[in-house]
């Protein structure tokens, strides 16, 4: 399925080192246009690094990241920011900044020097705030928001950027169950209604399987497997990548695979013992 859609982004032989540690090891990954790609993997596998590398936030990486066949290394900072948006894992803004100020910052890459703020910018900000339900909060200060409100304000900022590709690094961390679903439903809506290409890093495998069109297992700096959630949610693969012994069932509501871990995978337990 996934390979019938032309790739929006093509990661080729991406290698990235932190000092002497290889974080990404000649990694290859196609990211299909207009689909939700979810990167999953154990802690420290390099999935967040990969996401940031796609947005060119690392220096000294080897290999190529092609955006519609153009190497992103050749794009200007603002040019790239008009095409790929990214929500950081733990974003922070001054507590006395208002929600509207934050969302307006999403227009930064669209602003030219002599024509700083246009009607189009204003419309994009309003659309972004409406879409995330933060219009009523726009005069509130960042420091006074709840976790769920704060996350929506940040997503609104990324939306105001009006990029066709949106990357989100663990966007549902620190959110309760209802807000997790709110957030991911919003992301899913952006994909389905506007056809945007979404790349997500998610820790929760069941959420990953539920929202992904393409699921990617990252393991030790490489892509271990990729495909539809049904193809990847296999006990042997989960044991190898996540070191868990899990039963796989089909979620009766959404028809997506869900995993129920029994415990750590036997091989790993032996290793520890």
């Amino acid at each position: 399925m996934a390979d019938l859609v032309p790739s929006r982004i093509e990661v080729r032989d991406l290698t990235l080192m932190y000092g002497h540690d290889t974080v990404l090891d000649a990694l290859n990954l196609p990211i299909p246009r207009g689909k939700v790609t979810v990167l999953a993997g154990p802690n420290g596998c390099g999935k967040s690094t990969l996401l940031r590398a796609i947005r060119r936030l690392h220096t000294g990486q080897k290999g190529q990241i092609l955006l519609d066949n153009v190497d992103i290394a050749s794009l200007g900072a603002k040019d790239l920011a008009r095409q790929i948006g990214l929500l950081a894992q733990n974003p922070s803004a001054p507590p006395d900044m208002t929600v509207e100020e934050l969302v307006r910052l999403g227009r930064y890459p669209h602003q030219a020097m002599l024509q700083p703020w246009s009607e189009r910018d204003g419309a994009a900000v309003n659309r972004a705030m409406d879409g995330t339900g933060v219009t009523g909060l726009k005069t509130r200060r960042i420091g006074s928001l709840s976790g769920g409100q704060l996350q929506r304000a940040w997503i609104a900022m990324v939306l105001a950027q009006e990029t066709d590709v949106i990357c989100l690094d663990e966007p549902v961390n620190h959110l309760d169950m209802a807000h997790q679903l709110d957030c991911l439903d919003l992301v899913s809506k952006l994909n389905q209604e506007d056809g945007r290409t979404i790349v997500l890093v998610l820790h929760d495998l069941n959420l990953a399987a539920r929202y992904a069109d393409q699921l990617v297992f990252v393991h030790e700096g490489r892509v271990r497997a990729l495909g539809q959630p049904e193809e990847l949610m296999k006990p042997e693969l989960l044991a190898e990548v996540f070191e868990v012994d899990a039963a796989i069932m089909t979620d009766p509501v959404h028809g997506r695979p869900i995993c129920i871990p029994r415990g750590r995978a036997r091989a790993a337990v032996q290793e520890v013992a």
Binding site: L86, Q89, M97, Y108
Partner: protein
């Protein structure tokens, strides 16, 4: 602040405008008062007359040659140091950042002390004109900030690293300054101590001219850089992902901030705490608005130095106590207050 939080943006903007106007008004009043006060009192209307081109000969002399230079120098230098502090506090996202911690002030001090040591003869007199002293200060300041950048190397895009190296360089410069003062001749020690404390009393129009000429391009560059301050308010990953080239931008802002302070302290000496407090007060008064914040910082910085100089003239005559001691005496407790308050909110 909490009342600001609930009011609509339009009202807030109006509020900021009114506050800035009040600050401008206070600045004008204080400037006139600083010219009027002194060993002889010149009535405010006479001051205004003289400024507009009238007045008698003696009044003209006192206003234009004695009072005006020091008031102007205090205003320009105070504003430049405050602007520098404003930029640093915003780019580091830390309200405790100030030009002092970048090593600029201590570097300038070392420059002055070295200048006095090298160009003093055996009878304790300077062998060259004292007019070269600001140049020595500027060279010292720029050497210090360059060292900070060179030592930070590839990490110089990290605000914390730069501040840590700045503190280290400042400490080294301070230690060397003390050593040279202890081993130096008496004249030199007195002259160096004056500079270290910061004083505007001995400044001439030609020095003010040079200071202004150096500051104009620097201020223009700083104002141009300031347009990108809002995206830099976010964390590194977020500000870069909305398209700001943060590593380059941060170095540019640090450099311009260092230049602003170098130029100012080269002429008026090591004025303490101004760069920390003025932007902080400005932020309390006008909030996050960028250009209002810069304007308020500059005016408050100017007023602090004018006020400090006025105070030493009125309260300590005929002793010439350096104005910098006043800013330090007022500034240090305020700094402690900030530290303690920060502790409270963190704990």
């Amino acid at each position: 602040m909490s009342t600001l939080a609930v009011s609509a943006p339009a009202e807030r903007r109006f509020g900021i405008g009114a506050i800035v106007l009040i600050i401008v008004g206070l600045f004008v009043l204080l400037t006139l008062a600083a010219i009027a006060f002194g060993s002889t009192w010149i009535p405010l209307e006479t001051v205004a007359q003289v400024i507009l081109g009238g007045g008698e000969k003696t009044e003209k002399l006192v206003v234009w040659q004695l009072r005006m230079p020091r008031v102007m120098a205090a205003a320009i230098a105070g504003a430049a140091i405050a602007f520098s502090g404003y930029l640093l506090q915003r780019i580091t996202r830390n309200e405790l950042a100030s030009p002092g911690v970048l090593g600029v002030v201590d570097g300038a001090a070392l420059g002055v002390v070295l200048f006095l040591a090298i160009f003093s003869n055996e009878s304790n007199a300077l062998t060259v004109s004292v007019a070269w002293q600001p140049l020595a200060a500027a060279i010292g300041a720029l050497t210090a900030i360059s060292l900070v950048f060179i030592l930070s190397g590839r990490q110089s895009s990290s605000a914390i690293r730069l501040l840590l190296f700045g503190i280290a360089i400042a400490a080294v410069a301070k230690a060397l300054t003390t050593v040279f003062m202890l081993i130096g001749p008496v004249y030199q020690t007195a002259q160096a101590a004056r500079w270290l404390a910061g004083a505007v009393n001995a400044i001439s129009w030609s020095e003010i001219q040079i200071m202004a000429i150096c500051l104009v391009p620097t201020v223009l560059l700083a104002a141009w850089l300031a347009k990108d301050l809002p995206p830099a308010d976010l964390d590194d990953v977020s500000s870069r992902s909305i398209g700001l080239n943060l590593p380059v931008y941060r170095i540019a802002v640090f450099f311009v901030a260092a230049m602003l302070t170098s130029i100012a302290v080269a002429f008026v000496g090591g004025v303490g705490f101004l760069g920390l407090i003025a932007p902080h007060l400005a932020r309390l008064l006008v909030g996050r608005a960028r250009f209002a914040g810069i304007l308020a910082s500059c005016l408050i910085g100017a007023m602090m130095l004018i006020g400090a100089d006025l105070l030493v003239r009125v309260a300590f005559t005929p002793l010439e106590v350096p104005a910098g001691t006043v800013t330090a005496i007022v500034g240090a407790p305020y700094f402690l207050f900030l530290l303690m308050r920060k502790d409270k909110t963190n704990g």
